[in-house]
Symmetry: C2
């Protein structure tokens, strides 16, 4: 199993989650990812390092570029951890049906 700590830590930042969505469409270089954000390349690179430490992406040097590639296993591990609560959901979620659609929201 993949280390959950690094994975959940990597998922905690909205920029990193956006990067994962981008990488789910196509592999991208550091510069390619950076184009979609207003922060510097170095900052984006740091996020990519965190994602790599969380096993969420793989990094491959190709010439002078580095290709960042989504790695689905860690995402699956995170989902598996959440699945441990499924029994709880089955038992108690039915009682909360009316509350589900009344959920408010704020930032993201």
């Amino acid at each position: 199993m993949i280390a959950l700590q690094g994975t959940f830590r990597a998922l905690a930042d909205p920029t990193r989650r956006d990067i994962l969505v981008m990488l789910s469409r196509e592999d991208m270089t550091v510069a390619g990812v950076s184009e979609h954000f207003e922060m510097t390349r170095a900052a984006v690179k740091k996020h990519l390092v965190v994602l790599e430490e969380g096993h969420l992406i793989s990094v491959r040097r190709q010439g002078r570029e580095t290709i960042n590639k989504l790695r689905p296993q860690a995402l699956k591990s995170a989902q598996d951890w959440l699945n441990h609560f499924s029994d709880f959901w089955d038992t108690h979620l039915d009682n909360l049906k009316s509350a589900v659609e009344a959920e408010g929201d704020d930032t993201k």
Copy 2:
């Protein structure tokens, strides 16, 4: 839908994930949760506040105790976000079957 940012941020800490597991078995007071950790009650209380801000628990005052209760909707929202990558998994995970069971691990 529930705000993902607060939810993922709350899930990023191992202490908080442990608290969620504990609460999946039974509702607990602040002191009850604190017994399972070596940090102070105040520190545990702070984690509980973060969990509440992430909509992962509900807090109810009962007499001089406060009952902390798991709230499954937010966990489900996080899982739903992860589900957005399912298409990617279906497409690419098969090619990685051999790599899945070769995953190393470190902390948690």
